[in-house]
Amino acid sequence: MLTPAEWQAVGLSLQVAALALVIVLPLAVAVAWLLARKRFPGKVLVDALVHLPLVMPPVVTGYLLLVLLGRQGVVGQFLDETFGIVFAFRWTGAAVAAGVMALPLVVRPLRLAFESVDPRLEQAAATLGASPLRVFLTVTLPLAMPGLIAGVILGFAKSLGEFGATITFVSSIPGETRTLSLAIQTLLEIPGREDAALRLTLIAVAISVAALVASELVVRRLRRDVHA
């Protein structure tokens, strides 16, 4: 049904989205918690920075990543020389681009979820001897779980479909950085390959619907657990 190259694009997309989430989730949880619970100087700046990828043209985000994390970039050069980590024109770079683009979408529902957790419950946990970390892990995070799942789904979907920043930062290299979206775009450029483009499009739709259904099931399960 699918050619090996098409299968490769699907597998790579899932791989990129998964790594993007692994990178972005801890960061998003930390940022969302800070924004929801703490007052600190520069809070407005952090808030703006996180949301920047949402409002900037994706190409601009991709170009900034190239400037920062490219082989000649300020951070990229350091990472290459010190740890031998290279992002430019690698699938890991595609994951970084997808992650950056997904960050605001993951942070937003998480922040709302943290804000909706009653701080008086956290106080009660502290009087029972729970350290701030234990309070977070056993009270705040479980009660914010629906927000976390919403964030994960949105982030996953965004990562799967990311195009502009990815193609700018890591180009469209078959088998390395050519994800589903990039593959569809490439096929559309070639006359007579519309059928292949349509097949990949249907797969993209199927993956998105599956993710949505899965999240709905998990959220329902959680609700039942809390109110059972």
Binding site: R120, L121, A124, A126, T127, L128, G129, A130, V226
Partner: protein, 362 residues
């Protein structure tokens, strides 16, 4: 032993409160806004304190001079909140063992669940519990964290009268078993009479009175808080006779005996009896041919005209204080003055049954 000396400001509000409480219940009493909850929060470390010290059994939780300010989770202060604050995502059992650490003591949980009658509810979620059950879970949860001191913030206020009557015995049991200092915020005289050994009366952030229950509750100025109809004195004595046919018990006190409805306590029990000021009448001569069961020989200590028609007469009855509410014409007709010997008349049917004093042998 709990020693508290706390000074803090929150905007225009100033709290300066010092008191000490040994094992057993110290009631924090006062109007809403007097600073009772703020004081509890300060002991627990939930609000910032400007200066002072809080020590439990010699361990400093806070000491501004020595620079000690333990974080909330290191204070081991059990806190029963007015709004229970149970964790909605955990079962009753896991709520109760939350403070017991990673390896909860099954036996301690079983004991506490039986003490609070919660065995049947351990696997349920707080959402499905009644108000009284939720409050009992909150009490058990605080106790199972093995606190050095237990703070209770009006744990019965959110409940109706029937539920209060249901929970009070559990708190009494806890008080008699726990062997730690309990600070109990309340504004009802019933709860204070039943539970407390000592009362700290807070007014606008300052300690207006502190001492044993009978000392503090007999002060006429407390009536502004308790409300005139609830105000009155609290007497202490030992049951020395029970008239089962009449349903009455006789309580021997230093100044004489008082008949009250039988509360079910055996002879020899040390009890506390509440005498509302509005239920006490005065006579200059020994009354004869009345239906009133009690005539207590007393001496007029002070006559204080209050607002409206009511005059509060403070009497001493064998070293215990009794308060009486009279009308102005009645005071004039009796020609009452300080030092007069009078009879305080109280009908037994007007009295609540006596309550056993905590710690006293049953």
């Amino acid at each position: 032993m709990l020693e508290v000396d706390i000074h803090l400001r929150q905007g225009d509000f100033r709290l300066d409160a010092a008191f000490a409480g040994s094992d057993g219940v110290t009631a924090l009493f006062g109007r809403s806004g007097a600073g009772k909850t703020t004081l509890l929060n300060a002991i627990a470390g939930l609000v910032r304190v400007d200066s002072g010290a809080v020590t439990v059994d010699g361990v400093a939780l806070y000491d501004s001079v020595r620079g000690i300010d333990l974080p909330v989770h290191r204070r081991r202060v059990g806190y029963v909140f007015q709004d229970t604050r149970l964790f909605p995502h955990l079962t009753v059992a896991r709520n109760m063992t939350y403070g017991a650490g990673r390896r909860p003591d099954r036996q301690a949980l079983a004991h506490m669940a039986s003490l609070l009658d919660l065995e049947a509810h351990l696997t349920r979620r707080p959402d499905n519990l009644s108000g009284g059950e939720r409050q009992r879970v909150a009490i058990g949860r605080a106790m199972l964290s093995r606190p050095r001191v237990l703070l209770m913030d009006e744990p019965l206020t959110a409940l109706d009268v029937a539920l209060r009557a249901e929970i009070l015995p559990y708190i009494e049991r806890l008080r008699d078993e726990a062997g730690i200092a309990i600070v109990y915020v309340s504004h009802t005289v019933e709860e204070v009479t039943r539970l407390a050994e000592r009362v700290v009366f807070l007014d606008a952030g300052q300690v207006a009175a502190a001492g044993t229950v009978d000392d503090v509750m007999g002060q006429p100025d407390l009536m502004a808080v308790t409300g005139r109809s609830a105000g009155g004195a609290i007497l202490q004595g030992v049951i020395d006779e029970i008239d089962a046919d009449a349903g009455l018990a006789r309580i021997a006190m230093p100044g004489g005996t008082v008949w009250a409805p039988d509360g079910g306590w055996p002879r020899g029990t040390t009890v506390r009896l509440r005498l509302r000021a509005r239920d006490v009448a005065l006579a200059r001569a020994a009354p004869q041919g009345t239906s009133i069961a009690n005539a207590l020989p007393a001496t007029v200590m002070a006559i204080e005209a209050g607002e409206g028609a009511v005059v509060t007469v403070r009497l001493t009855f064998g070293a215990q204080t009794v308060l009486a509410h009279l009308t102005r014409p009645a005071v004039a007709a009796l020609e009452l003055a300080e030092g007069h010997q009078v009879w305080a008349l109280v009908d037994a049917v007007a009295l609540d049954p006596p309550v056993r004093l905590s710690g006293a042998p049953a």
